[in-house]
Structures are given as structure tokens and as C-alpha cells.
Amino acid sequence: MTRAAREIRFGTGDGRRPVIAAEGVRVTAGAFTVLDRFDLTVDQGEVVALTGVNGAGKSTLLRCLAGLQPVTEGEILVLGAPPRDDETFWRDVGLTTDEQAWYPWLTVREHLELVRRIHAPVGDSCPEPEALLETFGLSDRADVTPMTLSTGQRQRLSLAAMLARPSRLLLLDEPEQGLDQTFRDSLGTLLATYAGDGGTLVMATHDARLAESAGARMVTLHGAGRT
């Protein structure tokens, strides 16, 4: 899959400012500290894999980067500004979690087409829906509602939808979930290509092989945010 270099619109990722800058981040849940004095800097075109045991705070960190969870202390800047849950932010940032949902009245192909149409102009920077269906092994399920897909197929559709649209940052929470090992290897290559074309990617993962094939910088969390 080939991708043209992305157009930079907000002047971030220009070598002077990082795409993600998290400093002294502390997140608490009641009496429990999930992340403590956590720092992270991610530059444009970089792939970062957050690893660590269950409960180490990987998903929490992704939610903070997406602006879905407020930090108790510290500061997070994404694309040069604090993350915010609005239309403009989500035009540049893609997020996949284990909570997947689809419009039951649209087919798999229509979902991919809709993503492209809404994020128009897409240009040549993103693959066509047909190419994505082929790459993600969904061609024979293109004309059904996603409600009838298996768990793994839904995960494939979720990732395909992320790549069907232009974005500057992808936040992926355990993208390997439900995928067979063969496709995980292909996914690593796809993600590396995305970063090679100028996109930035942060993913929480338990699959070291996937992280390696995506060419990721590993950041291991040890609970309470110690790195």
C-alpha cells in the first residue's frame, strides 16, 4: 500500500513542536493513582507502543491523550493544543478502543465510503475502500451490515476505517485484539507505512511482535505511571 505525504495544516510536526507533549501527568481514580508524574514526547512520523501489565495505565493514558479523561495534574498537548472532544479535534485524530460500534443500516463498504466522504477532500493520501476491503480481508463481507461480522472482522473494519480517512495522529488501544497472527504481521507493516507517510501513531499493545513490525519505540508502563 502506498500513501502520499500528508499535508500539514496546523504547523505542528514541523520539527519544532512534537505531536504529543505530556509533562508531569498524574491521573487518579479515587484513592488509586493510575499514572504518576508521567512524561511522554512523540514526534511526527513516530510510532510509539505503550506496553505493560494489565492495569499499568496504558488505556488510561490513551484516553487522556484523546481528551476523554481529565488529568489530575500536569499538562498534555496534542497537535499543539490541549485535547478536546470536538469535531475539529476528531478530524485530525483517530481513536480505536475495544468499544466498537457501527450503523446497523449501512453495509461494510458504505461505512468505509462514508468515512472518506465525511473527511473529504481525501485526495490520494488514503487508500480506496475497495483496496482496504481487499487488504483487510473483508471483500466477501462488503455488502452486509457490520452487525453480522465476527469479532475479528469487526476489528479489521475498525482499523480499515481509521486508514480510510486522512488523520495526523492515530491512537489505537490493543489493535491486535481478535486478529489472527498472520494478519497481525500485515498490520504491523500497514502501521509502519502510515508513519512513513508522515502520520503519528501511539498504541497500547501486549504484542511485542506487532510493535516490532511497526517499527515502534517501546514505552513500558509499570503501574502508577513509572517508566
Partner: protein
């Protein structure tokens, strides 16, 4: 030998009063409700249909047939005999007397049928001319609904309830439509003979239904109780919206879809997504189209203009809600709104369009029938934004907040959480339609247009993606 009564006694051993006392209290309560409620109901019905005369018999009868059709659809959907999930699991699937196990559910059905019959009877008395022959009308109404309930039980026991009840409901609707279109001059109904013979039929069928309870098949009970269990759990434990999602998922899973290209880009594409959903449910659109006759039907049956306008607003809100499925889905799944970077502005387009279309058609029918002046059609674009914003609020209201305290009124507590949930959205729709509800005048039209524009502006300015 273990009996149902013994089990029930043991299960309710913590109750404060003995069984006979509870039965006495229930009887007294029912008697009081009947003594106080029925005259009030008749007075209210007579006020609603105060203008009814012999010439309005056909529309009035059509309205009653439509109500009865709705009742049959409800019976087909509910069971009608249901038990609590616990009773089904522990008592139905056991060697206990089946009829005794089902007595409670059957009693609830009988009581509900009687109440529905009283309402139907009082409405019948009102639409046939100011409450004459009240006792005969009430007797006929109760007989019809009890007969329908008993027939529902017999059909349920035979495992064919849905098809026959739905067919009957559709036939009743067709008959109602024919009455409206043909407006035949109906002869005075043989009310007194009917009021005497109908209870006989109702009693006979109820007796047969009672006997059928003894051999009621477990399978149909399990189906009906699982459905009602989901409804109750969704209402009290989870969120009623979950039930809608489950029903929608089941519907779309069974449909064969065909991919179609998107001719538009940007925000228009999200609007097209809502439109595509509507176009793939033609049955819903057909029902909505048929329902546009309701306001003119109510007015033709002698109802006041105010009542017709209330029906108009309710119908417009229902139409807008039908088109708000996309917004509801987005509210339940914020990850979708993030993926499509979908704001609030686009979500209001289709609900507003459908509300405009529905109210426009209904107003046009009222104008054609001579009940409203021609310029009143302008209320459609003026009221549609308020109805659409109300429908969007309903779609995005989320789960019931059970943490809100219960207000104790001495005679019982009112849980504020469910009340606030139920009124969310409806309140905006009502407030947004106040000028129309108050009067149909040029001044109220201007005020309605202004109010609609303000509500639309507020809705479009909302930028947050998640709920």
C-alpha cells in the same frame, strides 16, 4: 403435596398483611378508582368530543377502531399472558398446576382489559353524542376489550397469536380508513341488544381462555416472559434506549442490504446516512404517512381544534423521533461520532425535515377538510425545528439516573429519575410548540417561527461530539 398457593404464601411470608386483607384493599381501591375515575373520564371525553353529533358517527367509529387496533397490536406484542422471569424459571418449568401459576398474569390481563374497555366505552359514548346510553357503551367497551384479551390468550396458547391478532389489527385499520374515506351515513347502532349480547360472548371466551391456561405451552410463555423481562429490566435497571437498540439490531441483522454509492461529501454525507436509514425502512414511513390523517380524524369525530393540534404536535414529534435514530446511535456509541467527526448540527436535519413533512401533510388535510385556514400550513416549518430539537434531546438523553432521590408524597414515593428521563425531550417539544398549542392565529404563527429559529440556533451551535 406442594401447591402454588403454598409456595406463594411462603414466598410472601414477609408481607405485613395477611392475604385476605390485601385482596380487600385491592377491591376497595378498584371500586374507588371506578367510582371516581369513570365519571371524570366520561366528562373529559365529552369535553374533548363535545361537538360530536350523529353526522360525526363515521369518523368517531373510525377513531375507536384505530384505538382497538392499537390495543390488539399491544396484545400481540406482549403475550398477552406473561409471568415474571423468576416465576417462569422456577414455577412454569415444574410439576405445579399450570393454571394456578398463571392466575396472577391472567388477572393482570383481565384488569387491564377492563380498564381499557372503560376508556373505550366512555370515548364511544362521547363520540356518539354527548354521553347518551353511558352504561350500554361502557358494557360494550369492556366486552370488546375482554373478548380481545381472551382471544389473545387462546391464540397465544395455540401458538399463532401474532399473525391473527396483527391481521385483525390491520383489518380494523383498513375499516377505519374506509369509514373516513367513504363517510357512510351509519344507521343508529343496535346499542342495547349489543350491550346485552357482547358480555355473553366475552364471558364465554374468558371461560375458554381460563380453561386453556391449564395446558398453556411453556415455549410461548418463555418467549413472552423473556421479552417482557427485557422490557422491565431495560426500564428499571438499564436504560429503555437499550431495548430500542436491541430491537433495531435484530431488525437490521435479518435484512439483506445492498451497498449504494454516496453522491455527496462532508456534512451532507452524514445527513444522507440518516436518509438512507429511513429509506430502508419503508414500512415505518408508510405508517407515518397513514397517521397524518389522525388530526383531521379527531376533529371530524367532534374533537376540539385544540385536541387536533395536540395530536398534530404528538405526531410531529413521533415523526422527528423516527428520523433521530442516527443521533441516538451516536449518543449511545460516542466512538462513532468521533470516527465520523460528526457534530450536532447535521443530526437535526432529517428529524426537522420529517417533522416538517408530517405536520405539513396533517395541516394540509385539516385545511382541506375546512377545519383550519389555509395560512395555518405555515405552522409546519415554524414548529418543525422545536419538534426536531425535542426528538434529538430524547435521542441523546442517555440512561435513567437512579441516583436522583425519590420524592415521598405520603401516599407513596415518586422516583424522580425515571420521571425526568421520560420528560426529557418531550418538555422541549412542548415548550417549543407553545404558541401553536395556545392558538392558531397569525400572531402565534409569528411567535412560533421565532421560537423555532431560536431553538434551531441553539442546537446547531452545540459543538461537543460526545453525549
Amino acid at each position: 403435596m406442594t401447591t402454588v398457593a403454598g409456595l406463594t404464601r411462603r414466598r410472601r411470608s414477609t408481607a405485613r398483611e395477611p392475604g385476605w386483607q390485601r385482596a380487600y384493599y385491592r377491591l376497595i381501591t378498584l371500586g374507588l378508582v371506578a367510582a371516581i375515575g369513570v365519571p371524570q373520564l366520561v366528562r373529559f371525553s365529552s369535553w374533548l368530543f363535545g361537538g360530536a353529533g350523529p353526522a360525526d358517527a363515521a369518523p368517531g367509529l373510525a377513531l375507536l377502531l384505530a384505538l382497538l387496533s392499537g390495543l390488539l397490536m399491544l396484545l400481540a406484542w406482549t403475550g398477552p399472558v406473561v409471568s415474571s422471569p423468576a416465576d417462569v424459571r422456577w414455577l412454569v418449568l415444574s410439576p405445579l398446576n399450570r393454571r394456578r401459576v398463571l392466575t396472577r398474569g391472567a388477572s393482570v390481563l383481565l384488569a387491564s382489559s377492563i380498564v381499557a374497555g372503560l376508556i373505550l366505552g366512555s370515548l364511544g359514548a362521547a363520540v356518539s353524542g354527548g354521553g347518551r346510553d353511558l352504561i350500554a357503551h361502557l358494557s360494550l367497551g369492556v366486552s370488546v376489550t375482554v373478548t380481545a384479551g381472551a382471544a389473545g390468550v387462546l391464540l397465544q396458547a395455540a401458538g399463532t397469536r401474532r399473525d391473527w391478532l396483527r391481521l385483525t389489527a390491520v383489518l380494523l385499520l383498513v375499516a377505519a380508513g374506509a369509514l373516513i374515506l367513504l363517510r357512510p351515513s351509519l344507521p343508529g347502532p343496535p346499542l342495547v341488544p349489543a350491550a346485552f349480547s357482547a358480555p355473553v360472548v366475552a364471558t364465554l371466551l374468558t371461560w375458554r381462555a381460563w380453561r386453556a391456561l391449564a395446558h398453556f405451552p411453556s415455549r410461548v410463555l418463555l418467549d413472552a416472559s423473556a421479552r417482557m423481562g427485557t422490557l422491565v429490566a431495560s426500564s428499571y435497571n438499564l436504560e429503555p434506549a437499550a431495548l430500542t437498540s436491541i430491537a433495531e439490531e435484530r431488525f437490521w441483522r435479518s435484512r439483506r442490504l445492498r451497498s449504494r454509492p454516496w453522491p455527496v461529501t462532508g456534512r451532507a454525507a452524514t445527513v444522507l446516512s440518516d436518509a438512507r436509514m429511513l429509506s430502508r425502512r419503508p414500512g415505518r414511513l408508510a405508517v407515518l404517512a397513514v397517521l397524518t390523517v389522525l388530526p383531521v380524524l379527531v376533529r371530524s369525530a367532534g374533537g376540539t381544534t385544540g385536541l387536533a393540534v395536540v395530536v398534530l404536535v404528538c405526531g410531529g414529534l413521533a415523526a422527528a423521533t423516527t428520523a433521530a435514530a442516527g443521533a441516538r446511535w451516536d449518543a449511545q456509541h460516542p466512538e462513532l461520532a468521533r470516527l465520523f467527526a460528526r457534530g450536532s448540527a447535521t443530526g437535526v436535519v432529517m428529524p426537522a425535515a420529517l417533522a416538517l413533512l408530517w405536520t405539513g401533510l396533517a395541516l394540509a388535510l385539516l385545511v382541506t377538510a375546512g377545519f383550519l385556514p389555509a395560512w395555518s400550513c405555515l405552522f409546519a416549518p415554524a414548529a418543525a425545528p422545536g419538534l426536531a430539537v425535542g426528538a434529538l434531546r430524547m435521542a441523546r438523553r442517555g440512561p435513567i439516573d437512579h441516583s436522583i432521590p425519590v420524592v415521598d408524597l405520603g401516599m407513596g414515593g415518586i422516583p424522580l429519575g425515571p420521571v425526568l428521563w421520560a420528560t426529557a425531550g418531550v418538555d422541549i417539544a412542548i415548550l417549543g410548540s407553545v404558541p401553536l398549542l395556545l392558538a392558531v392565529t397569525p400572531a402565534s404563527l409569528a411567535l412560533q417561527a421565532l421560537l423555532g429559529a431560536v431553538l434551531l440556533g441553539v442546537c446547531v451551535r452545540r459543538r461537543r461530539v460526545s453525549r
